[in-house]
């Protein structure tokens, strides 16, 4: 589809006021860092961030910009006093998405939003199967509360970040549209009634497990495979019933950065982290469908595209829905991703200083195999054997069978050995259980469903970028070589930023500056205006 050419993004964003949620998350960080680094003439960015017991919202943002690798390019680009530079552009407002109007009082809401050109709602809880008492306040009610804030705006515009996987059971080719009130299974439903019914379960059921089970059953009945996609889907359907000029951006599986802030940067575990970690175990097969598409998109591509979509939205030219994915133009199959992960493991194990166990496991290549064709060695079998062994060791008292003199001599040591072995088995069982649970949660995405997300809208808008913007903002996923990306970017990024977390360790951020960055020490122009308005 032909799209009108975009003027330079610097012009589109100059002097604009944006209100943003979710900047402390993986995508939000990269998007904010990229915007500030490459479009420094943006007028004002108000960040809605939740304060915590140990740090105010402003302190959280200051620490994030000071120490997160996502902001390295910005810290490098800004010469002089970074605090003053940021104070001239960003304002941090303590907000809680779970509360009506995100917890802003009417005065603050008016002050913040009356001059806003758009709200960019990136916040969301991305756990696959969380307690709905945690996910609904953010992904469902939070979306409503953010949308409600647009009533304070002169031109109410909202860019809402959702997920491609709201498609749920409607597999195959997924178009860039939403049919309000029709679930992925094709059932007509009332989103307000559904939210109320879920909320009643959330309020009345006493345990997280009971809440997860009950709400998950409702999700599956409508055709959403888990609580994450359900809550995001409800958020989209809810928005469609509100009088808001909303544009929805749906990324697929967001993974390590290709170039910004730097190659292979990643935060947290992401979706592929547990899968890749599984491939590093001795299990010979990952239960998955080899020829299904694993739709992956680098975080910096999503970030660039969000900025382009926002530019369109600010100019009143945006489509209603954008899918940010790769599978329709450059698909990577599960079989290929599992093979590349096995090769990444092999290559990583060949580095100097690799442990012997790593070198041995590297030769046990994992494959993508469907559930009905798995080899004998699977996590559930190991879990079962582990449980039996643990029980056996629990019932075993080696001192019983020893003659009295030996009992006195070695009985204590033997009993201790058995106890140690039981502890080791229990630890291994915990790992097996985690793997079994992970595979259950991932099953709809890696085994059961095969989606092809149409991405024509964003590709059309990216193609219409001004020539001067192409170097920074153009990201064409069609030229992405999955082999290079997966081995040199994704695997490297996971090893550096994610696997240590999965093994119970930590990942070091950048050291804070001296003195540590603080926000709000310099008065920005809008503070003066606000003061005048306040007096009036």
């Amino acid at each position: 589809m032909h799209r009108p050419a975009l003027p330079p993004l610097g012009e589109v964003f100059a002097g604009r006021h944006l209100v943003v949620t979710g900047v402390t998350g993986f995508l939000g960080k990269v998007w904010l860092a990229q915007l500030l680094t490459h479009l420094p003439d943006v007028g004002r960015i108000t960040l809605l961030v939740r304060g915590q017991r140990k740090a105010t919202a402003a302190q959280r943002v200051a620490t994030m910009i000071d120490t997160s690798p996502a902001f390295r390019p910005l810290r490098h680009a800004v010469r002089g006093d970074l605090g003053a530079w940021l104070d001239a552009r960003i304002e941090v407002v303590d907000a809680d998405l779970a509360l009506p109007d995100c917890g802003l009082d009417a005065h603050t809401a008016r002050r913040v939003l009356s001059t806003a050109d758009a709200i960019v709602h990136v916040a969301g809880l991305t756990d696959f199967q969380p307690d709905p008492r945690k996910s609904f306040p953010v992904n469902v009610h939070g979306t409503r509360h953010v949308a409600d804030l647009t009533r304070f705006m002169a031109t109410p515009r909202l860019l809402h970040v959702s997920t491609c996987f709201v498609a749920g059971a409607a597999q195959g080719v997924v178009e860039e549209r939403l049919v309000p009130g029709v679930s992925p299974r094709g059932l007509v439903f009332d989103v307000h009634d559904e939210i109320a019914a879920c909320q009643q379960l959330i309020d009345t059921l006493p345990t997280p497990a009971a809440r997860i089970e009950a709400v998950d059953a409702r999700a599956r009945a409508l055709g959403w495979p888990n609580l994450y996609t359900f809550s995001k889907g409800l958020g989209e359907h809810l928005l469609a019933t509100l009088d808001v000029d909303a544009v929805t951006a749906r990324p697929s599986v967001i993974e390590c950065a290709r170039t910004f802030p730097e190659p292979a940067w990643n935060e947290g575990l992401n979706t592929s982290g547990p899968i890749m970690w599984f491939c590093g175990t001795a299990f010979p097969a990952l239960p998955s469908t080899a020829d299904h598409t694993f739709d992956i998109i680098p975080v910096d591509a999503v970030s660039r595209w969000l900025t382009v979509i926002l530019a369109r939205h600010l100019r009143g030219e945006a489509h209603e829905v954008y899918q940010l994915a790769s599978g329709d133009v450059n698909p990577a199959s599960f079989g290929r991703i599992v093979e590349l992960t096995a090769l990444g493991k092999r290559r990583h194990a060949g580095r100097p200083g690799a442990r012997l166990s790593e070198r041995l496991v590297a030769h046990l290549d994992v494959r993508s195999r469907p559930h009905d064709d798995l080899p004998w060695l699977t996590p559930d079998r190991v879990e079962g054997l582990g449980r039996d062994l643990h029980a056996l060791l629990g019932a075993l008292d080696p001192t019983d069978r020893l003659p009295a003199p030996l009992q006195r001599g070695i009985g204590g040591r033997l009993a201790q050995r058995v106890k140690d072995a039981r502890r080791a088995v229990a630890k291994a069982n915990r790992t097996s259980s985690r793997l079994v649970r992970m595979l259950e949660v991932y099953r709809p995405f890696i085994h059961d469903h095969d989606w092809t997300f149409v991405t024509g809208n964003v590709r059309g808008d990216v193609a219409a970028l001004h020539p001067d913007d192409r170097a920074v903002w153009h990201d064409d996923i069609t030229d992405l070589c999955w082999r290079t990306y997966w081995l040199d970017v994704q695997y490297t990024g996971m090893v550096r930023w994610a696997f240590p977390l999965m093994e119970g360790g930590t990942v070091a951020e950048d050291p804070p500056s001296e003195p540590a960055l603080a926000l709000g020490r310099h008065r920005a122009p809008w503070h003066v205006d606000d003061a005048v308005q306040g007096v009036a």
């Binding site: 010979p284 290929r336 093979e339 090769l343 092999r346 290559r347 060949g350 290549d365 082999r483 081995l487």
Partner: protein, 222 residues
Amino acid sequence: MPAATAAYFRVEGVLVGRRGLSCAAWMAARQHDLVGRLGRLGVALAAAPVGAAGDPLTATRLAWRALKDCTEDRLVVLAAQYWDDRVERAWNPAGVALLERCRAQGDRIVLLSEHPEAVIGPIRGRLGADELVCNHLELASGRLTGRLLDPVFAGVTDGSWVREHARRHGLDPARSRAYGTARADATLLSGVGLPCAVTPDLPLRRLAATFDWPVVEARPES
């Protein structure tokens, strides 16, 4: 103006102390699952006696059958690893010095290798050669079929090969050089005016003595 000259180098033995068959076996041992690996290794190793029996062409074809169904991704990654771990550690300094001397003299540098291009391709840039004659593995839908694309190179077996190559490139075979290391290279050496045996095996050493070809003794780095 006289026709240009070439220097033909057999990669295996002269420049690098590795054989194509050992590369195929190395890769076969790095395929999926243990049983599958053993089977593939068996196929690759079966090529050795076939080659020793005087049929290098069949041996080469058989050796690379061992990689049937290997993904292109695996081939590329293993090939890079093989290059780094094996080829880069097995240069024959004397052979490389000969090549540099020929290049300085203005010879067209032609490398002849039984390795597949996926493995040995980087050698062209690494040594600044003008041409690389080697094998090409056939791919279909991202996987190896186990076949080599024709023409399969397993050493120069046809006496007219050098003449034909020289004619195509306007070269003078009588003033060109060739460097080989095994009996199988004798056809190549006999096709040029300036042959040279580099650390030859016994049969080639005897031939070199018979035809009065110069012999260079050199050992690879590992």
